[in-house]
Symmetry: C2
Subunit: 365 residues, 2 copies
């Protein structure tokens, strides 16, 4: 289903139309109207009010929030991720008449402004080429998630770009197609086009990558009282490197233990059984290997479990470490004990506390 946005010349409201049919270039037949006034930077006109055969132009500019994400989720390596509410990048996308892509970043940022080397540029180019767009783009990235943090820094920019460019194109792509475009950014950043960060960033909530070939994403329900606390030690761990240290072969008996936990985690999320979620957050395969890259990992884990967290583990490929809790109060206690463990290290760190973000990328003003 495509969505088209326009400003009505009679009532001046910005409107979104769900049921529309393209008759010819830029001429759409509108069947009904919905009031959803959250659009920003829209420059749309409509020839007639509440009638058919309206001429529109799509919006020229959009500003979005792209959330940080926690991938792998302990036992669910490479297949599950969830989005955070309180941490993410802000990005502004502006149409250009010339068919080029330019990127700007705040002064002092180490991000590449060459669009071929920036994940946002790579994702945007693929989308504009596929859609045979007749415009170019300027992308401004206010990067608030540090690269290599393990909470989906490249995924936020990739997913945010996929979402925003799709809006500028008039919603021509499905969520699954957006995730595939965003995976091009992940491939540039880490060498591996994985989906477990970009999928929750776009879809919101917990996103399960049921299959890569073909790509199939399933949105898993989020229990209401689930909170996440993440500590981000400011040392860089590249996804590429932390993947290299994994063993290519594992014991079948360890795999069986792991899939019991994965099944338990999914069952816990559906049935809102917080304790089952906690018991299932147990990773016998990746955590024992990757945890060596994270200073005081086991002290952190012991501390957050003692503070009442349901469970947790390495966020993405690290170095961030996440814990899930039932209720904000426990999540705050978890933040306190994480702080206590890291205060003595001399390593800079941030701690984030967030509900699970059920919406994913969103348009902001």
């Amino acid at each position: 289903m495509n969505f088209y946005f326009f400003r009505c010349s009679k009532c001046l409201g910005i409107r979104q139309n769900e049921k529309s049919k393209k008759l010819q270039k830029d001429i759409f037949q509108f069947n009904d109207f919905m009031d959803r006034h959250y659009l920003v930077g829209t420059q749309l006109t409509v020839a007639a009010h509440c009638t058919i055969n309206a001429t529109i132009r799509f919006m020229d500019k959009i500003k979005i929030f792209a959330p940080a994400t926690v991938a792998n989720v302990s036992c669910a390596f490479d297949i599950l991720g969830f989005a955070l509410e309180s941490v993410g990048d802000e990005m502004i996308f502006s149409k250009l008449d010339e068919k080029v892509i330019t990127i700007s970043v705040p002064l002092g940022s180490n991000l590449p402004s060459n669009p071929e080397k920036n994940v946002a540029g790579v994702v945007a180019k693929a989308m504009l080429d596929t859609a045979k767009a007749d415009f170019g783009l300027h992308i401004h990235i206010d990067k608030r998630i540090m690269p290599g943090s393990g909470i989906g820094s490249s995924a936020a920019s990739s997913a945010g770009t996929a979402y925003a460019v799709n809006k500028l194109l008039g919603n021509v792509f499905s969520d699954t197609e957006l995730i595939k475009f965003a995976m091009l950014g992940e491939a540039l950043a880490s060498g591996i086009p994985h989906a477990d960060n970009v999928a929750p960033a776009i879809m919101g909530g917990f996103a399960l990558v049921r299959s890569y070939h073909p790509l199939e994403l399933i949105k898993i329900p989020v229990p209401d009282e689930l909170y996440c606390t993440v500590i981000h030690p400011q040392i860089e761990v590249k996804t590429e490197n932390s993947r290299k240290i994994l063993k290519k072969n594992i014991l079948l008996k360890d795999a069986v233990t792991q899939w019991g936990n994965i099944a338990g985690l999914i069952a816990g999320l559906y049935s809102k059984d917080y304790d089952l979620i906690g018991r299932s957050l147990d990773d016998k395969i990746v955590e024992p290997v990757r945890s060596i890259l994270i200073p005081l990992f086991f002290e952190l884990k012991q501390a957050f479990l003692s503070a009442g967290a349901l469970g947790g583990g390495i966020s993405g490929s690290g170095p961030s470490v996440f814990a899930l809790s039932k209720g904000k109060h426990t999540a705050e206690n978890v933040a306190d004990v994480m702080d206590s463990v890291y205060a003595k290290t001399g390593i800079d760190y941030d701690i984030h506390l967030s509900k699970i973000n059920e919406q994913g990328v969103k348009i902001i003003i």
Copy 2:
């Protein structure tokens, strides 16, 4: 919570008490009453009607139906199983004053009547010993599931025994404890004390073995329209042998594919998404190895998928092959095509069609 059964001397109804407190041997304090008249062979008396301090004796004899089960369920090797409704063993358990266990089987059956070599005898002995019972047992087994069939033959006898002996003891054990006792039978039969047949046989429905250490079972919801068709080629495949041919090591990338499917299967069962269940029934690890033991496995699979089955695979360790379908009509079509594939082989076979059995072992008259 223990349950105590008695026949009221005033109203003559057989009653079951849920909230009771043992005061001394055979003296219980009853707090409330429930009408559940399904008990058979009960010889209980109660001194007073609807009052406290009633003297009771537990039932002396019980007859049960113990269902066949499909374990492994394609991608969910060793962690998931479900029970069938239309196939199973019937067993009669009678208390003996002497503290011995005796077993009888129908003439012509190859089952051992030595209680140390029969799974029912091993399970019953462990339970009577643990409960320090002051009685013995005679067990009659009407074996209707052929040993080595792959639909939980040993599990049915083990689970049926655990359930029935618990009733004769006055429900002193929890479901998880019953499953642990029944696993002793599985250890005798196959060398491996696995739970993915005995758990659904006792709990009914789909039973997930979230963890073996400690043992934790989760009951997964059953979509209403889910039917199972099973073909049992009458060749014997011993669980012990079919386990030996499995590789001890697997590729991490194959494991990741598998846990995507496991998560998808659990999500599909919770969300009643039949197509998702079907797409998730894909096993890249065990099926490719074990299928060589089953004549015409791939022809069967192709046939049942063409007939509209959601998916399927090897039942347990084979040789039975199961398919899940949405609706009885499709399950019947699947039975027809399974029949067509096997009719030409010269191998004897049975085909069973069943809803998923949500109750598990049950008392029958």
